[in-house]
């Protein structure tokens, strides 16, 4: 398998292009690039078909006997259901504008990671079975037969796409590889070829309410730990409520924020802010997940998981819903939730109880992004900050793919950062906002076994941060996504060591002056605040300064 070159072979290299094109080059599954296949129990938990033990490296994937029929029927059904899919199959002119926009292509050089070619993987089958030209002229018309190798190739490459939509920004027709990947994965799911890393969170979320499978008591105790830390830092006792009927607002955030650092610091930030405001809000243990890994399997599954948010809001009788910092969660909330599980006519149009601002842009879904909510508070001078507490941080901001290209939330988080921090530096325009680079681990690719893939896909982001690290001494990468907070730390460790990762509400809460708080000597990470070091250090600094 390994391609060892003999020294004498190096001298005579064939510079001719390959005889065979991409259609005749089956993929070679490389360790570190793909995720493990899902264990059967995960698929059974939600009723996905063809649950069985299997490994992607197996020769025989144990597909159903009529797999070919399933795939072609699946394609036909989706061509009829999604205009996006149908049009994107027909109108690509292969201009190549998308080719070098994909972070996986940039990091690997593998031609099948060019969005256009990743789409051609399925388009070639579409032509063969659904167009006259493809049926008649075959390969000449860019068509090819559907074989098990093709299925494996789809699988290998549709799980090397993070559905980040960057290609779609540059495409003259807006062809969105995310749409094609989503349909591709949906079809692959009909054959039971889920990954374990996606299958697990989906099953957990369905039965227990969140991806991590935290049971109700674990959620409350988790948040209580965070409250203990808040008390240690600020001297203030925060007592959030859970599943409380009659609260004005339901707060929903990705469960990752309750579980792993540095997401937990962002969760502490929410708790501190909402306490300081005295907001009448509640957490839910049933709708304890804002994210939606179902979105990485099928539209139906995503809808099934998303159902809980409105159902819980209705049961508790809240007026509207506030959502935490998360990327794909907001793609789903902004573009899908109301369609799937609305209309939310049992809720009221969201109004900030603190400022009276009506969130007109959310008057149908009744769900507000916390950075919209907080930016409004800051604008109305409802919060006091000691920005110097963030002076040890040189911050840059990473726009998450989904909030950038599936929503367009750019200014709100920046406004929060500028108002709570003194040192904020932007990466270049070609690497932020709508052109932002993916973390390389989105859409359920944040497993451990595919670390090499993640580092490749994250290379452009890593390089971009490295540049501002060298130029401005950036040491903190802020973002508004729970997946980012989980996966950017290792990415930075590899490409830009010394840069840490945080959510914007961690920065905010660190600077937030709370009523009745003790003098803060620690940041939310329980590390000493450099601004309030003891006197000895100050003297040393002074001496150095005098010299």
């Amino acid at each position: 398998m390994e391609n060892e070159q003999k020294p004498e072979e190096l001298a005579n290299i064939d510079f001719n292009p390959p005889e065979t094109g991409w259609m005749d080059t089956p993929p070679e599954f490389k360790k570190g690039i793909f995720c493990y296949g899902s264990r059967p129990s995960y698929l059974e938990a939600v009723g996905f078909p063809n649950a069985r033990e299997w490994k992607p490296t197996d020769e025989d994937w144990k597909l159903p006997d009529n797999w070919k029929e399933i795939v072609l029927e699946g394609m036909k059904e989706r061509l009829e259901k999604y205009r996006s899919f149908k049009i994107f199959m027909d109108i690509c002119v292969r201009c190549g504008a998308c080719a070098d926009k994909c972070h996986f292509y940039i990091g690997s050089g593998d031609p099948k990671n060019m969005p256009v070619l990743r789409a051609e993987l399925i388009r070639s089958v579409y032509r063969r079975y659904f167009t006259t030209a493809g049926k008649m002229f075959g390969k000449l018309a860019g068509a090819r037969d559907l074989t098990e190798d093709v299925i494996k190739e789809w699988w290998y490459y549709f799980y090397q796409c993070t559905e980040c939509r960057r290609c779609s920004v540059f495409c003259p027709y807006g062809i969105d590889q995310a749409e094609i990947t989503m349909v591709g994965r949906e079809i692959l799911n009909l054959l039971g070829t889920q990954t374990d890393w996606i299958g697990g969170p989906v099953a957990n979320c369905y039965q227990k309410g969140n991806h991590l499978g935290l049971e109700p008591h674990a959620i409350t105790s988790n948040i209580e730990y965070l409250c203990d830390d808040i008390e240690e830092i600020t001297g203030i006792t925060v007592e959030p409520s859970f599943n409380r009927k009659g609260a004005e607002i339901l707060f929903v955030t990705p469960s990752g924020d309750l579980f792993g650092d540095p997401g937990t610091y962002t969760a502490m930030g929410y708790l501190m802010l909402l306490h300081e405001l005295g907001l009448d809000y509640t957490w839910s243990t049933y709708a304890s997940e804002g994210g939606n890994f179902g979105f990485f399997t099928s539209m139906d599954m995503a809808k099934r998981l998303n159902y809980k948010i409105y159902a819980e809001a209705k049961r508790l009788g809240v007026k509207w819903i506030l959502g935490g910092e998360c990327g794909h969660m907001w793609r789903v909330l902004n573009q899908y939730m109301d369609t799937w599980n609305g209309p939310a006519d049992f809720l009221e149009e969201p109004v900030s109880p603190i400022t009276g601002t009506k969130f007109e842009n959310a008057k149908s879904t009744k769900m507000v992004h916390i950075t919209e909510f907080t930016a409004d508070l800051i604008k109305h001078n409802k919060l006091q900050f000691d920005k110097s507490r963030n002076d040890h941080l040189n911050i840059t901001f990473h726009d998450s793919c989904n909030t950038a290209r599936g929503m367009g939330i750019f200014e709100e988080p920046r406004y929060i950062i500028r108002n709570t921090c003194n040192n904020f530096f932007e990466m270049s325009d070609d690497e932020t906002r709508e052109k932002t680079f993916c973390c390389g681990s989105g859409s359920g690719l944040n497993a451990g076994e595919n670390m090499e893939l993640r580092m490749r896909g994250g290379m452009p982001r890593g390089h971009a941060v490295k540049k501002v690290q060298e130029k401005y001494g950036v040491n903190m990468l802020a973002n508004i996504c729970a997946i980012d907070r989980a996966v950017l730390p290792p990415l930075m460790d590899y490409w830009a060591p010394g840069v840490d990762v945080c959510g914007t509400h961690e920065l905010l809460a660190n600077a937030l002056i709370m009523k009745g708080e003790i003098k803060r000597t620690q940041d939310l990470r329980l590390e000493d605040l450099p601004g309030v070091e003891d006197d000895d250090d100050d003297e040393e600094n002074n001496e150095e300064g005098e010299e």
């Binding site: 094109g21 259901k81 999604y82 205009r83 996006s84 049009i87 027909d90 109108i91 690509c92 201009c95 190549g96 080719a99 070098d100 060019m114 070619l117 006259t132 860019g142 939509r165 779609s168 920004v169 540059f170 027709y173 807006g174 062809i175 969105d176 039965q207 227990k208 309410g209 109700p216 008591h217 409350t220 859970f242 243990t285 049933y286 809808k303 099934r304 159902y307 809980k308 573009q335 109301d338 369609t339 799937w340 601002t357 842009n361 959310a362 008057k363 149908s364 879904t365 604008k379 290209r405 599936g406 929503m407 367009g408 939330i409 406004y415 070609d430 690497e431 709508e434 452009p460 390089h463």
Partner: protein, 329 residues
């Protein structure tokens, strides 16, 4: 392989037209029957295709947002790159269709100090825009063959097009730029490895075809000058459903006509339909107002869910122990 095949195909088409007219004298077929058939196939094909597309619904509201959303009133909103209203969408589509907004964003990577950086790359935008604009101009110019008297507007376009006043008849820039831009687009498919790798016969064929159409047109106008009066009689005959075939119109005219007919026939079955598709692309033609106004999925159906009751039944004891309120004690 795709390229050579396409080149061969276009060459064969030229030979067929030439032989058909000059050798076996089938002027009627190439001057009347095929053009009529081509127009019929083109119109029917395009309409059917668009109908077929529009039969597939848009279940979800999925614009690709390329600018700041409209949220709080004091945050500057990007009304064309992330439109919130129908007016904004119309602007976005207009910029996309007439000025190729997305291609204008194109960037290419460079390496500085061992790290990837990005710089603007407008060549594809320029080449693409030049190609499409001049194609459109040439198309409009040709209306002079299908209208009597020639509308003043067309004369104006001609005058503008030939403003450089080179040669007799005046050199019309649009035709030259069209062929040059098509040649550039062809060069990209050969010269840039990524684009070469992804190119299919279906990408080369229309380029060769259009270049050949342009070249035969240029040859007719400036070199092998055809009897323009007879040509106009023939084209007017076609448009008035009273077709005539006149002798003395050179075979080059029939080749030109035949290649155009092939293009028209080929159009609805090919990627050239991007002309219609761009209008229907859901990532571009929807406003980003899905939180403000509910988007309805026409094929929506109920799905199996895990209800709160099921959840509480499973965890009731744990919830009570943790002090979480429950529905049933």
């Amino acid at each position: 392989m795709g390229m050579l095949f396409s080149l061969f195909m276009v060459a064969a088409l030229i030979v067929v037209a030439y032989a058909g007219v000059a050798v076996v004298n089938m002027q009627n077929l190439f001057g009347v029957v095929i053009p009529y058939a081509a127009i019929a196939i083109f119109l029917a094909g395009v309409i059917l295709k668009v109908l077929k597309w529009s039969r597939s619904p848009v279940p979800f509201h999925i614009p690709t947002t390329c600018g700041q959303q409209k949220s709080l009133p004091w945050i500057k909103h990007s009304s064309t790159d992330n439109p919130q209203t129908t007016g904004g969408v119309i602007m976005r589509m207009a910029l996309e269709i007439f000025l190729f907004r997305s291609l204008f964003r194109n960037i290419k990577s460079e390496v500085t100090d061992g790290r990837a950086t990005y710089g603007s790359d407008k060549l594809l935008w320029l080449g693409g825009l030049a190609f499409h604009l001049t194609f459109f101009t040439v198309l409009i110019r040709h209306l002079r063959f299908f209208a009597e008297p020639v509308p003043a507007m067309i004369n104006t376009i001609d005058a503008l097009d030939g403003f450089m006043q080179i040669g007799v008849p005046h050199l019309l820039m649009s035709g030259v730029i069209l062929v040059a831009a098509a040649a550039y687009l062809l060069w990209r498919r050969v010269g840039i490895s990524q684009v070469k790798y992804i190119s299919l016969a279906a990408d080369y064929f229309p380029l060769f075809l259009i270049i050949s159409i342009g070249l035969t047109g240029i040859i007719m106008r400036y070199f092998a000058k055809v009897d323009i009066v007879s040509v106009k009689k023939m084209t007017m005959g076609l448009v008035s459903l009273n077709p005539v075939v006149l002798s003395g119109v050179g075979s080059i005219f029939y080749i030109h006509m035949f290649l155009i007919s092939v293009l028209l026939i080929y159009f609805p079955f090919s990627k050239l339909m991007h002309m219609g598709g761009v209008f229907l692309s859901p990532t571009r033609n929807l406003s980003n107002n899905s939180r403000e106004k509910r988007h309805v999925n026409p094929w929506d159906y109920p799905v199996k869910v895990h209800t709160y009751e099921q959840y509480e039944d499973e965890f009731r004891e744990k919830m009570k122990e943790a002090g979480i309120p429950v529905e049933k004690e």
